[in-house]
């Protein structure tokens, strides 16, 4: 008897479990197949400020390696005309065509002058702290002016609740001397352990090492370097109340700034080279969780662009970082309206694991648009017709619920997993 009770409970539970699993698998799989077949996605538009036009000009992907080159006024350009409007970006091409030096805004620029005063920096949402798997162990390069090559240090550091610990890779053990030296230096400067944000570049593929910017437990930011094996630490005056999300260090021979501070509220500040003064970037509306930020510096202008899945907006600034022009470009829909409607009709619910804004699994349920309602109603009608035609019965809750929630996907699950007829 107890077996019968167990069976009566487990049979529907098992069917529901299989249906839920099937729906989860299909709302992940079928939209992915649809995208593969229907084609989706396109390159992000490239937005630049042209110093010749003194307005924005952009390259937009039409799919299939076709590009459109256009300026703010809607004027179309060929690829070469586009490059000609951006002499600080494509200066190597201009040099080969013997078009340099070039006079812009009353100043003459040759190859060397342009190359020396260019800097590019890209901050992708997927690389920010918390958006990417990261192990908090960092190499602190030993700056030695007598050595040309940047040798990778044998120690890596981490922060605990009471120390800046160095671990030796040769022995996989704590280096007590370095730990004590750096911890004491930080303590003397009033560092409150543990560190809350650590920003630096753990690579020797850079022109020089600028150490790490480390935010302590009360929000103060310290600049930590290792020079001739000794700590060189600066307690900066950067506002401790800043809600810092991440600090991106960018070593560049121009030495205008150390890097960028990004806050949770979407503010972006450059940390000036000489005095750690913050230079705000005009990026109102920037959401670091789901937007990418680029800063492009040339001899005359600084251009910051912020791209989301809906648009790309750019602000051109003069050398004092004062905005001179703004432009927003809506992103072109990658697929045709017909394909989008079909997608909504077939997939009222989609499951996505990957996101352009995160470097690890990001489980997201995405709901379809108004066409999904039509899809669900059609799927319900098909279910009713099949049930009436096959068994002369009406579907029960176990069949109706998946179809009412997920349309044709639920219908597939229900039709494949419904109880069969008993074999003779």
């Amino acid at each position: 008897m107890s077996g019968n009770i167990l069976s009566r409970i487990l049979t529907p539970v098992s069917r529901w479990s299989a249906t839920i699993l099937a729906v989860l698998a299909l709302i992940f799989l079928l939209p992915a197949i649809f995208d593969k077949v229907g084609g989706s996605g396109g390159d992000e538009p490239l937005l630049f400020f042209s110093p010749l036009l003194e307005e924005f000009i952009y390259q937009e992907s039409l799919g299939g390696h076709q590009f459109l080159y256009r300026d703010e006024q809607g004027r179309d350009y060929s690829r070469q005309e586009f490059e000609d409007q951006l002499p600080f970006v494509y200066f190597r091409n201009l040099e080969r065509r013997n078009l340099l030096p070039m006079t812009i805004a009353g100043r003459a620029f040759d190859t060397e002058a342009i190359a020396a005063d260019r800097q590019g920096l890209e901050i992708r949402a997927r690389h920010l702290r918390g958006h990417h798997p990261r192990i908090d162990l960092y190499p602190l390069f030993n700056i030695d002016p007598a050595v040309a090559m940047m040798r990778f240090p044998v120690e890596m550091f981490r922060f605990t609740d009471s120390a800046m610990e160095f671990l030796n890779a040769d022995y996989n053990r704590l280096d007590r001397d370095l730990t004590e030296m750096f911890t004491n230096t930080l303590r003397e400067l009033g560092f409150s352990f543990p560190a809350t944000v650590i920003g630096g570049r753990a690579t020797n593929l850079k022109p020089f090492d600028d150490g790490y910017f480390i935010r302590d437990a009360v929000g103060r930011i310290f600049h930590v370097k290792r020079v001739l094996n000794q700590p060189e630490v600066v307690a900066t005056d950067i506002d401790p109340s800043l809600d810092v999300l991440d600090i991106i260090v960018n070593e560049n021979e121009r030495r205008e700034f150390h890097g960028v501070i990004i806050t949770h509220r979407g503010e972006a500040f450059l940390i000036s080279w000489d005095d750690y003064r913050l230079i705000p970037l005009p990026v109102q509306g920037y959401d670091p969780a789901r937007m990418d930020l680029k800063l492009l510096i040339d001899p005359l202008y600084r251009t910051v662009t912020v791209s989301s899945d809906k648009s790309v907006f750019g602000v051109a600034m003069n050398t004092a970082y004062e905005p001179v022009r703004r432009f927003e470009l809506s992103r072109r829909e990658a697929s045709s309206p017909w394909v989008q409607r079909m997608r909504g009709f077939l997939f009222p619910v989609e499951l996505h694991l990957e996101s352009p804004w995160r470097g690890q699994a990001d489980l997201q349920i995405q709901l379809g648009g108004p066409w999904s309602i039509g899809g669900i109603l059609t799927a319900l009608a098909v279910l009713l017709l099949i049930r009436r035609g096959r068994d002369k019965t009406l579907p029960g809750l176990a069949d109706l619920a998946p179809v009412a929630l997920t349309g044709f996907i639920g219908l597939l699950a229900v039709l494949f997993l419904q109880p069969g007829r008993r074999a003779s």
Binding site: S14, S17, L21, A25, I135, D136, L137, L353, L412, A423
Partner: protein
């Protein structure tokens, strides 16, 4: 009766289990030797750099092993029973169908968990010997979805083998295949970690979903 079921399952599984254990341990030893060799031929800090900043997962070559182990254990447990039609006899023993099936599955999962436990332990020992604790912990988190794929593979294969009708077997294959694929798509360490709580919630569904094919097998596809 339950002891008898477990003994029967143990006897069915022992050789495949021992073979799977040997293969898994063999790969663990290979990973250890690979890391040790790299540590002696390169500068240790560069190997740390690869592990910590370039996100090299040294045990990546082992990612399909739990899935294959699960499939092999399910095959060893259910294929002979189904081919010899002994399962139908077992289902007529004086024990509830669900109880018998549950103990069969738990026996198989138990063997799989032993293999997974040994692999996790050996990998942890290798990583803890050559890397800081953060790296060895990250290794285990990286391998967690692979282990889940092993359990999913075992339970999914059991459901497929028990299912009497081909269209439904094909559909279940698509569902479990998709789920196993999702568990394997991670790149670099800890890629899947944010989704692990959802995975833990979904695994009991996979276990429960085997009982319906078991019932259908018992009742001739009804």
């Amino acid at each position: 009766m339950i002891r008898s079921i477990l003994l029967k399952e143990g006897l069915k599984l022992r050789w495949v289990f021992l073979a799977a254990l040997a293969v898994n341990v063999g790969f663990c030893v290979k990973v250890f030797l690979d890391v040790r060799q790299q540590m002696t031929t390169e500068h240790a800090q560069m190997v740390w750099y690869q592990a910590i900043h370039l996100q090299t997962v040294f045990q990546y070559q082992m990612r399909h092993l739990p899935l294959l182990t699960g499939l092999a254990l399910a095959a060893a447990q259910f294929v002979p029973e189904l081919l010899g039609r002994r399962m139908r006899i077992a289902l007529h023993l004086p024990v509830a169908r669900e109880t018998m099936l549950a103990w069969c599955l738990l026996a198989g999962l138990g063997h799989l968990l032993v293999v997974i436990g040994v692999v996790a332990g050996l990998t942890h020992l290798t990583m803890a010997r050559y890397f800081p604790a953060e790296v060895s912990c990250s290794s285990l988190a990286t391998m967690a979805p692979w282990y889940a794929a092993g359990m999913l593979g075992y339970l999914g294969a059991a459901a497929l083998l028990l299912e009497p009708k081909w269209p439904r077997r094909f559909f279940l294959g698509l569902v479990f295949g998709t789920a196993a694929y999702v568990l394997m798509i991670g790149r670099g360490y800890g890629w899947f970690t944010p989704a692990l709580p959802w995975l833990l919630a979904a695994l009991p569904l996979v276990l429960l979903s085997v009982f319906e094919p078991g019932r259908r097998f018992h009742q001739g596809g009804a």
